[in-house]
Every structure is written in structure tokens, then in C-alpha cells.
Amino acid sequence: MPTFEYAPAPESRELANLRTSYQMFVDGKFVDGAGKPLKSVNPATEEVLAEVATASSDDVDLAVRAARRAYDRVWGRMPGAERGKYLFRIARLIQERSRELAVLESLDNGKPIKESRDTDVPTAAAHFFHHAGWADKLDYAGYGPEPRPLGVAAQVIPWNFPLLMLAWKIAPALACGNTVVLKPAETTPLTALVFADICRQAELPPGVVNILPGAGDVGAALVSHPDVDKVAFTGSTEVGKEITRTLAGTGRRLTLELGGKAANIVFDDAPLDQAVEGIVNGIFFNQGHVCCAGSRLLVQESVAEELLARLRTRIATLRVGDPLDKNTDVGAINSREQLNKIIELSDAGDAEGAQRWTSPCPLPERGLFFAPTVFSEVQQSMRIAKEEIFGPVLSVLTFRTPDEAITKANNTPYGLSAGVWTEKGSRILWAAQRLRAGVVWANTFNRFDPTAPFGGYRESGFGREGGRAGLEAYLDV
């Protein structure tokens, strides 16, 4: 297939208003933390973007106390309608500063600008907009009249969707009347600190939102702080289990959004070109750094060869490169550590006998990149079929009967998401019913909306984010 030549179309990095240093946000003020400052790196070039202050355990304590004061004196007793107006303000401010946030996110995270611009930032604004309207309608949420907030929420978010995960966490927490202390990921703290500036512009009362950058030790100090009423964590299953053990016996509330190993099932009557697009979106969106990524492709044997041929042709057209280039489809791997993990698991695929195919696309000479990769002839026992790779690596398995497809799809301790591709409506509903996963995308993939609850079964965590079901995580019900 002929490919078109693309002229580079880079977005201006000036739009990010990048500063050389960033401070933590505690009690309405930007302050230096007593922790060792971290350097946030642009994964596309490995250059240092900025120095960021981090929290010490004393800082964690200060932030929790600020959140407690704000909860007791202001936020917890404020009428819902007023809280809602603050959230509407925040939603609007995110929209106003959307280009700045998108460029900064792509610089810091390595994700393509078209994704941060068209998905991350607008969806983050939508979450604040949606939850703003809940703040004065909680009586109607189905949890009884006048449901109460929980208090101070400790929130720890991952590096794959830094601003969007912040929105998923903060918007419902504030709407329900809680105050928050949030720790962004070590490698992607910058947009959270611009969000803090948005809180300043929105004139949010001091202490309602506190942002503490830092590594795992800050997260651990935060979630185990005795004056925290609720913990919300998005990240690895391993860390999620550790947090659960830490909170055991304390009675504190917890919700977890953990890993996944989603099956994307293609039946023989599926619209193949449409399926190819969905498979590509499912595993190469955000470089595959997606907990609900469709990382296990299950194809009915009779169409496997044809689908794989079409898939490889399509994948070969994906452009890997500068995240700020508007033509880029696949950006940079977020960190050296993550790149090494992807390499290690891919090597395990080779060693265990799967067939590796790598896109012939050119890769940039510097920066952290990994070419889109497809493993075929994968068996269920292989590491690449069982473990979350969290990168642009697809494992292909085949099946013969619908029952076999469901059995293989459910053969995992995870249960976050699944995909189904078939023209037959009754088969879609049949499969959707049997798949043990919190989200099932039929003839589509990776759709998100603040009105649609998202979350896992089994070891993918508990609790939901979004919709009426998501409010339960922040109400004392």
C-alpha cells in the first residue's frame, strides 16, 4: 500500500508556558517541599523539562491537615450548589487553557499531541462539568436523602493519563463535598501543578485541593496517614494490594483501579476493516500505556490469517515519533524503566516461542521509543498472554468456537475491559453478558465518558469512576 509523505507539523512548545521549576500546592499556596526535588524528563528527547519540588512526610502531614481544616470549616458544610459552581469554573478554566495543558502533557508524558488535545484535556474538562451538576443533586443519586461526604481523600494517580486521572479523582471527590490531597506520578507531575494554578484562578478555598509531587514513598505516607478518611488509587495491581494491606483494619474507605489484560475478540463475521481500526486503537492508543488496552487479540481461526495481514498493513502506516507533531500516531515510552519492562516482556515472548512482527516504521534516533509489535502464535501460558506489558505490544491468540473465546478471554485474574467484534447483535449481547469485565466495548474500543461508569472486576480493582455508580466512592453510604 502506498503511503503518503508527511511534512512535519510540530505544535509550538512555547504554548506549554514551561517553567524551569515547579512548586507543590498546599493550603492554597505554592510552596517548596522538604523532599528531594525531582526532575521531570521529556521522554521524547530525554532532556530535563523542569525541576519539581517534592513532599517529605512532614509535608504530607501539613497537606492532610490543610485538607481537614478546609473540610471542617468550609467545603464539607458548603451548600452543594456553591460547590457545583466552583467545579463549573474549573471545567471552564480547563477548556480555556486547553492548548497549554495539551502541549505540556505531551512534553511531560510523551503522548501524541493529537491524543492529549482531542482526548485527555477535553475529557478532563467533561468530568468536571458532569460532576459539577451532581454537587447539588446528590439527594437524587440513589443513596438516600442527604448523603454525607467521607472527609479527606488521599488520591494517588498514574503517569499514563496524568491530567485525565486527576480529573477522574478530584471532580467526584469535590462534588460530593470531600477535600483532597493528590499525588501525581513521579514522571508526570507538571499538568497537575498547572491544575493547581487553575484552582487558584477559580478561587477555590485554600486546602480543598492539595497537590504533592513525589515518588512512591510520598504515596505510601499519604495513603497511610491516620487522618485520611478515604484512599483512591489508580495504578498497578501489586501496589493496589499493598495499599489494601496497609489499610486493613483501619475501616478507611478504599477504591482501586488496577491493571488489566483485556481480550479483544474478533468473530468470523466481524467487519474486518472496522475491527482493524479498533484493534489498533485498543493497543496503540497512548503507546499502549492503558490499563484497559486490548492487549490480547482473540481471533476466530477462520479469519485469523486475513485479519493479521490487514492488521500488519495498517500498523505499518502508524507514525512513531515526536509527540508534538500533529501527524504522530505513537509517541514516546514514558520512562526508561517502562521501556526496559516492555523489552523484557517482548524478549520473553521470543523465548517462549511466539512469532514477533515489528512495524518497519522508522524510529527517532534519540528518546524512548518502541516500534509497534505484534506477537502471533501466542499460547495462554506465555508471559505475554498473562502479564500486563503496558506498551505497544499485541499478543494474538486464536479460537474456534464462541465458548472457547469466552473461556480464554476470562482466563485471567484481571477483569477491567474487553472488546467484541461481530455483526451479529445477539452474539454481542451474549458475549457481553459472559465476559467478566467492567467495561465491554462492542464494535468499538477505548470509549470513555463521565456519565459511563468505569472500573474492574476481580484483580482489576473495585469501585467505579463516572456516572451515578462512581459517586458511591466518595459518599458515606
Binding site: A126, G142, G144, T237, G240, K241, E242, T244, R245, L247, A248, G249, G251, L256, L258, P413, G415, I428, A432, A437, G438, V439, V440, W441, A442, N443, T444, R447, D449, T451, A452, P453, F454, G455, Y457, R458, E459, S460, G461, F462, R464, G467, R468, A469, E472, V477
Partner: protein
Amino acid sequence: MSNRLVSGTAAPRLSVNKTYKLYIGGAFPRSESGRVYEVADAKGAFLANAAHASRKDVRDAVVAARKGFAGWSGATAYNRGQVLYRIAEMLEGRREQFTAEVVAQEGLPLKRAAALVELTIDRWVWYAGWTDKIATVLGASNPVAGPYFSFTVPEPSGVIGILAPQDSSLLGLVSVLAPVIATGNTAVLVTSRARPLSAMTLAEVLATSDLPAGVVNILTGSPVELAPWLASHADVNGLDLTGAPEILQPELERSAAGTVKRVLHAPSAEPDWTRRPELRRLRTFIEHKTVWHPVGV
């Protein structure tokens, strides 16, 4: 229930005492361990020997519950409601037996015990009516911003381990068991240690109603001994700690973290079971599944 001699007009008659066993997979086995322990009434007199279930019995019960899950969770909500209502009918038929057991185990006056039994039956009816309303009340059609049909339905979490209340031998027991199975889960329940007899009589009701084998499995014995195996079992999806020994609760929660079980934490004291329940017990052991499909021609 006791060794008393009943004097009639003719010769005195020795009562036929009941041997209580476990309830696993629709059958009534003795404990694999061969052990029993003595259950006394409120005044300390001998009531019966109850089976002292072992770790192996827990594992057998989990296997039975897993086996029962596909059928029970796959049944229509209407069907589940019918089955649960049938159980209420059978409970009604055994009111006197349950009342006598509550009197014996809890030491309550007859009138009070009879009222609790009636409330228990009504509670079961209440949950029977929930089976086909849970999806309507907790589910949603999501008005997403795009050409997609998106809806959310509640589904059962799977096999749930329940540590039944230690004090309320019947009303408390039913209040923790009924919501778990009403939502389509299957259960492995460890009874009150001191007051296990009405649970085993309930098992007789369940076994002769239309409840499929394996949906409910009941073990008598020591919660201290059995709870850790339930909490760490990789094929158990949820854990209700209501009647768990307080001192063990943190450790049970830590064990449950190993497979990210859904945990219903124990209240600080045994709740007042006569109060109308909230939906929390229904909500804790369900998952929300969101399904998306494009809309277009």
C-alpha cells in the same frame, strides 16, 4: 433437641434427637475432620453436637459454590425471585421449629422469638422482591457524548464468603445471606459458633426448596479457624466480615487483599437486625458492567 423424656398416656417416650451436619453442594456431609463440638442453650444445657468444619470442608464448599455460580448467576432475575420466595414459603411452614431454636439458642421469651422469626420471613420476602429490581435501581443507561449506546448493569461478584453474626442466630443470619444470593452470587457461610442450629435448619429448608445445589453452603465450626482459609482462598471473590472475630479482622482484610476481594467490613458492634436494611449489602457484592456499542446506520 434434648434428652427430656416426654410423658404420654402410655409409656414415657424418649425424643429422637437431631444430628446436625454441614451443608455443602446441596448435600449434608459430616465434617471431613470427623470432629464435633457441643452447642449449649442459653442456660448452658446440652442442645446438640455441631459439626466442627475443617479447612478441607471450606475448600469443598468453595468448589461447590463455584460450581453453582454459572447456573445461579445465569438464571433470570424472575426465576431467582421465585426461588427465594419459595424459600420464604417453606420458612413460614417451619415457624414453630425456628421459634423453638431461637428460644433455645438466644434465651429469648417465646413471644419475642416468634416476632423475630416472623421478621426473618418478611426479610426473606423483601429480598426475594429485590432480584428483578436491582438492575433497574443500580443500573443505568448512560447518556454519553457521542454516537454510542452505553448502558451499565450490575452483575454478581462471584463466590462470597460470609462470617455470619455471632449473636442473632436467625434474623442476622438471613440478613447477611439473602442479599448475597439475591444478587446472583453464591455463598459459603460460616455460622455463629455458639448458635449454629437455626442455620442448619435453614439449610434443610434450602435443600428442599428449589435452590440449586451449591448456591448456599453452610459450615458450622470455629470462625477463628475457618475464616483465614476463606479470606485467602483464591477462588473466593468477596468476604463479609460481619461476624468475624474482631481480633482477626485486620489479618483477614490483609489476606483478602491477595486476590483483591470485595470486603464488607464488620460494624463496630452487631447491628440492630430488626431495622430495615439499606442497599449496602446488595451493593457490596456486585460489579457494574458498562457496555458500549456504536449507533449508526
